[in-house]
Structure formats: structure tokens, C-alpha cells
């Protein structure tokens, strides 16, 4: 019996392996990883068996069939999939193929005779405890729920799997890198984020300076700044990106529930806001009451001086 890990994101893949190791210890499950890149890395992060997919597979629908075979071969009890968009598209498709239950975006995981997880529901305002019976169970996990562990099990092995090009009715026309703001916010360590306190698009330059002074932070924003004003591509919040940086600096953000539930997993939250009563301040660790047009440049200076 085994726990099978898959993620198209390398960092998240190792985190899931860390989680799989934790689960497998109590339940005596073998840790299996399916990957199309760096199989050695999987061994170094705890996988006992690595299925290395080689070939032209790219689209999720082409992977599902291969995966089903490997899950059966290794008698998978639990399949952990990284909650990237591709992962979240893949997991339910696989579950459907296996006639299995699927739990998405889980922030905690326990395995006994059933799988028990916690996940956010109702726009992020309610935490639900859910169980899933049957075997296997497919679970998707966002970044930073688990920690990667560097450990190489004895006798770990890599099985090469040649994947042919499946008949697909879907044709990839092109892939376009996202413009500014299309950075990987979900995996960012530090995020500087702006709300309607920012008066003009040009003022993003000031925010970029702060991001730079912090050693290359990512830039996020609230929904109005992105969806209504179009200043940045992606926003942070329940309908946008859920983030979990170690530092989140909110500049001129009022603190709508939808935004707050997107930043809940941040380690430290700083709010810079001239309105002392802003809801954002109550959901922050450190609050600077002041005009962001004065505070942000001063902060840049202080960081550069240090």
C-alpha cells in the first residue's frame, strides 16, 4: 500500500513528499512519487519509488490514464496532488476515473481508516472538517502546508515510464508569459501589496522600489486594483491568489473579507494605512498609521541604509 505524490511544481512536490513521509510513518505506507522532471530530487526528499514520466505527455488528460495505472500498481491508498491550477484540474479528473472521493485545497491532513482534512469553504470564511472514505482518496494541498524534508530512503528506486503522445482533441496554440504582476504570488516569500490607497498606476514604481529593497519581493494588489483598474494582472484574495508569504506588506488596503482570507496563511502581516480604523489593521501584526506616499519611500531608504 502506498501514498502517491504528484505536483507539477517542484518545490511543492518536495513539500508533499514531506507530508507523505509523516502520514506513511503511522500507517506503514510506501512513499511513491510521480514526476516528469528531476527524479533524483524526489529520492532525496523521501520517495521510495519514483515513476519518471518521459515522453511527450503534457496535458493533464494524457496523464490521467498513466496515473491510474501507477496508482493501481502501487496500491495507492492516498494520492496527494499539489494545488497548482494544473494540479487542481488533474486531481478531480483522476478521482473521477478512479470513482474516488477528492478533497481540494486542504490545509491539514490526518490518515487513519478514513482521511480527515480541514479546508476553507464559504469564500474562506468557514473552516470545514471533512472526511473521505474509500480507497484511494485524492487530496490536493496548497504550498506550505507541509515542509520538505531532506532524507534519502535506502533502496529507493526510479522506474522510467515512457509516455506516448496520447490522442487528444485539444491542441495547444500558444503559451503566453503573463505580464507584470503575473509572477508566482502563491509561492512568493515576501509580497508588497497595494489597494485603493494607491492613487495612480505610475505610483507602482514606488512600490516596486520597496519590493526591490526587500530583495526582490513580489507585488500583489486587491481585486479593484486589478479587475477594475487593470494596473496589475493578478490580485490577492479568495477569487484571486491565495498567498502564504513570510512577510505581507499591505499598502493602502482597507481589508475586505475576501482579501483577508487570501492572506490568512501569511506569517507576518504589516499594514501601512492612513486610516487608523481600517479593518486591515486588525488583521495585521504591525501597523504603521500614515500616508503610504511618505511611509513607503522612508521604508525603502531605511532598508537600503541597513
Amino acid at each position: 500500500m502506498s501514498v502517491v505524490v504528484y505536483s507539477d511544481d517542484e518545490e511543492l512536490r518536495y513539500q508533499l513528499l514531506g507530508g507523505a513521509l509523516g502520514v506513511s510513518r503511522g500507517e506503514g505506507l510506501q512513499v511513491v512519487c510521480v514526476t516528469d522532471e528531476n527524479p533524483e530530487g524526489c529520492l532525496e526528499h523521501g520517495a521510495e519509488v519514483v515513476y519518471h514520466l518521459k515522453g511527450e505527455a503534457g496535458r493533464v488528460e494524457e496523464l490521467v490514464g498513466e496515473f491510474e495505472k501507477m496508482a493501481q500498481e502501487s496500491n495507492a491508498q492516498l494520492i496527494l496532488v499539489g494545488s497548482t491550477k494544473r494540479g487542481k484540474e488533474f486531481a478531480p479528473a483522476l478521482a473521477e476515473r478512479l470513482n474516488a472521493g477528492c478533497l481540494t485545497d486542504c490545509v491539514s491532513l490526518e490518515v487513519s481508516d478514513v482521511v480527515t482534512v480541514q479546508r476553507f469553504t464559504y469564500g474562506g470564511s468557514i473552516l470545514a472538517r471533512e472526511t473521505c472514505r474509500g480507497s484511494p482518496v485524492v487530496v490536493t494541498i496548497p504550498p506550505r502546508v507541509f515542509q520538505a524534508v531532506e532524507t534519502r530512503p535506502e533502496g529507493g528506486r526510479i522506474i522510467e515510464v515512457e509516455v506516448g503522445k496520447a490522442e487528444s482533441r485539444v491542441r495547444l496554440v500558444e503559451r503566453r508569459e503573463k505580464a507584470r504582476g503575473g509572477q508566482n504570488l502563491e509561492n512568493a516569500e515576501i509580497i508588497v501589496s497595494v489597494g485603493r490607497g494607491l492613487k495612480a498606476k505610475e505610483d507602482l514604481a514606488m512600490v516596486e522600489e520597496l519590493a526591490e529593497a526587500l530583495g526582490g519581493a513580489s507585488i500583489g494588489c486587491t481585486r479593484p486594483v486589478s479587475a477594475d483598474l487593470g494596473w496589475l494582472n493578478e490580485w490577492v484574495g479568495i477569487s484571486g491568489k491565495k498567498v502564504s508569504p513570510r512577510l505581507y506588506i499591505a499598502c493602502g488596503i482597507s481589508g475586505q473579507v475576501q482579501h483577508l482570507s487570501g492572506i490568512r496563511d501569511s506569517k507576518i502581516v504589516v499594514s501601512i494605512n492612513k486610516d487608523e480604523s481600517a479593518i486591515m489593521n486588525k488583521s495585521s501584526d504591525y501597523v504603521v498609521v500614515g500616508d503610504l506616499y511618505e511611509v513607503v519611500p522612508a521604508l525603502v531608504k531605511a532598508l537600503k541604509a541597513a
Binding site: 511544481d9 469564500g123 468557514i126 495585521s284 511618505e294 532598508l303
Partner: protein, 260 residues
């Protein structure tokens, strides 16, 4: 061209904060509304119909509240509504729900395009589109923020994590949409009045050739409890004589926390 839009009616999220988490949330609200992203899927279908002709059918698995909520879809311009009615509807998990909707979609055949929102904001499962793709044996294109249909071929832009992906697929297909796809129209009073006269068909689970006991068997996920998460932030106000001193203090705090 026949498009079917899958709609889920859910409690208003602003109302949820006042509800008793020990009891069924859906029972506690007087009415439900169509999930926002599903409404955008409907808007997309209506725009395609305006361009390409054909019909737009809405389909939902629900209860009495669903019948009222779905009127909004008819007022927006859907031609016809089908409701699979079951008191058990909302206890079924995504695996069982997809079986029901797949059966209903087969009964509605021929269907060229199945549309839904990428996520329902109540359960936040995000499973239906990909599951239906597999069970119907047709491609599912997820996270679509823009698309066009021409000559039986759908060209869609998908919003993925680090890039946009443009794909082409010959219909039939399932499409799940993201928020950016459009702004849903607000129906006129006249259309709201007309909505009640549009055809609504109610099917039972049995009429789809399914058995509720069998579906319950296949429904493996159960909600054990709900709670309101508490965010405990320090809420320390950083103050000093000058801005320079204030930010210096902040930098010091962030160093102590080990985050910079």
C-alpha cells in the same frame, strides 16, 4: 448550437457570518442565489448564442430553493431550465454529483458545450468541470478567461499560474470559467416578468436512471464540522516622533521576526 450551463445556487456569503454553524446552513437562509462564477458562465453562453445562434439551457441539481434561484438565469436570457430535484442533493459529494449531472447531460443530448464556473463559493470544491469531462468522455478546458466558438471549434484562453495558454478543441467540450471572463448582465424588469413563463422541467434522480442509495454509496466525502477561523494577529502599532524613526522601528521588528 446547444449550450448547457450548470448552475449551483448557494447562500449569500454576506449572510453566512450570522448563521449557526451547528445546523444546516442552507436551511437557515430564506433564499439562495446563483453562484457568481456560474452566472458568468451563463453570461458567456448567452454571448455565444447572440453570435452563433442556438439555445442556452441551464441545469441544476437542487431543491425547492433552486427553483426560485434559477429564475434569475431565465431572466438573464436562458431559454429553458432543468432541475434535478432531490432533498439529498446537497449532501452528495462531487463524485456523486458528477454522476447525476452526467446522466442529466446525456438525457439532454445533443449538447455542444457544457459550461460552469471554476468553483462554487460555498463548498469551494472546484471539481465538477474536470470530473464531467472524464465521465462524458469529452475534453474539459478549465480556468477559461476568454473564448470564441467558430465552425464547431472552440478557441479558449486559459488562465494558469504563470502563463496564459491558448488552446483549440473541437466540440463537444466542457468549459469552466474564471471571474475575469465577463460581467454578467442585470436582467430588465420585463425579462424578470417573462422568466416565470419560460419552461422549467423537474427531473427526479430516478428519472435519470439512478438510485439515491447507490449515489449515497458513491458519495464518500462528509462534512464533520464547521468553524469560524480565528486570525490572531499581534496588532502592534508602530509609533515614533518622525516617519524615519517609525520605519526604523518597523525594520527592527521585522528583523526580530526573522522575516527580512
Amino acid at each position: 448550437m446547444r449550450q448547457v450551463v450548470l448552475l449551483k445556487d448557494i447562500p449569500d456569503l454576506n449572510e453566512v457570518s450570522g448563521l449557526d454553524l451547528e445546523a444546516d446552513l442552507r436551511q437557515q437562509v430564506s433564499k439562495t442565489r446563483i453562484n457568481e462564477l456560474d452566472k458568468r458562465a451563463l453570461e458567456a453562453a448567452l454571448r455565444t448564442k447572440e453570435k452563433n445562434g442556438g439555445e442556452v439551457v441551464v441545469l441544476s441539481l437542487g431543491d425547492d430553493k433552486t427553483k426560485t434561484a434559477i429564475l434569475e438565469a431565465l431572466a438573464m436570457g436562458a431559454d429553458e431550465a432543468y432541475i434535478v430535484e432531490s432533498t439529498q442533493a446537497r449532501r452528495l459529494d462531487s463524485n456523486a454529483t458528477s454522476k447525476v449531472l452526467a446522466a442529466a447531460l446525456r438525457k439532454l443530448d445533443p449538447v455542444d458545450l457544457v459550461l460552469c464556473g471554476e468553483m462554487a463559493l460555498d463548498s469551494m470544491n472546484s471539481q465538477l468541470g474536470p470530473r464531467l469531462g472524464v465521465s462524458l468522455g469529452i475534453p474539459c478546458i478549465s480556468y477559461v478567461k476568454e473564448y470564441d466558438v467558430e465552425g464547431g471549434v472552440l478557441t479558449a484562453t486559459r488562465d494558469l499560474d504563470q502563463y496564459d495558454e491558448v488552446v483549440e478543441v473541437s466540440l463537444p467540450a466542457v468549459v469552466s470559467v474564471v471571474r475575469e471572463i465577463n460581467e454578467p448582465r442585470i436582467p430588465s424588469l420585463m425579462n424578470i416578468m417573462r422568466a416565470r413563463k419560460k419552461p422549467q422541467t423537474v427531473w427526479s434522480i430516478e428519472e435519470l436512471g439512478l438510485e439515491i442509495s447507490n449515489l449515497e454509496q458513491q458519495s464518500r466525502v462528509e462534512i464533520q464540522g464547521l468553524e469560524r477561523p480565528v486570525t490572531s494577529r499581534k496588532q502592534v502599532k508602530i509609533e515614533a516622533e518622525t516617519i524615519e524613526e517609525t520605519v526604523a522601528k518597523l525594520v527592527e521588528k521585522l528583523r526580530e521576526e526573522g522575516v527580512i
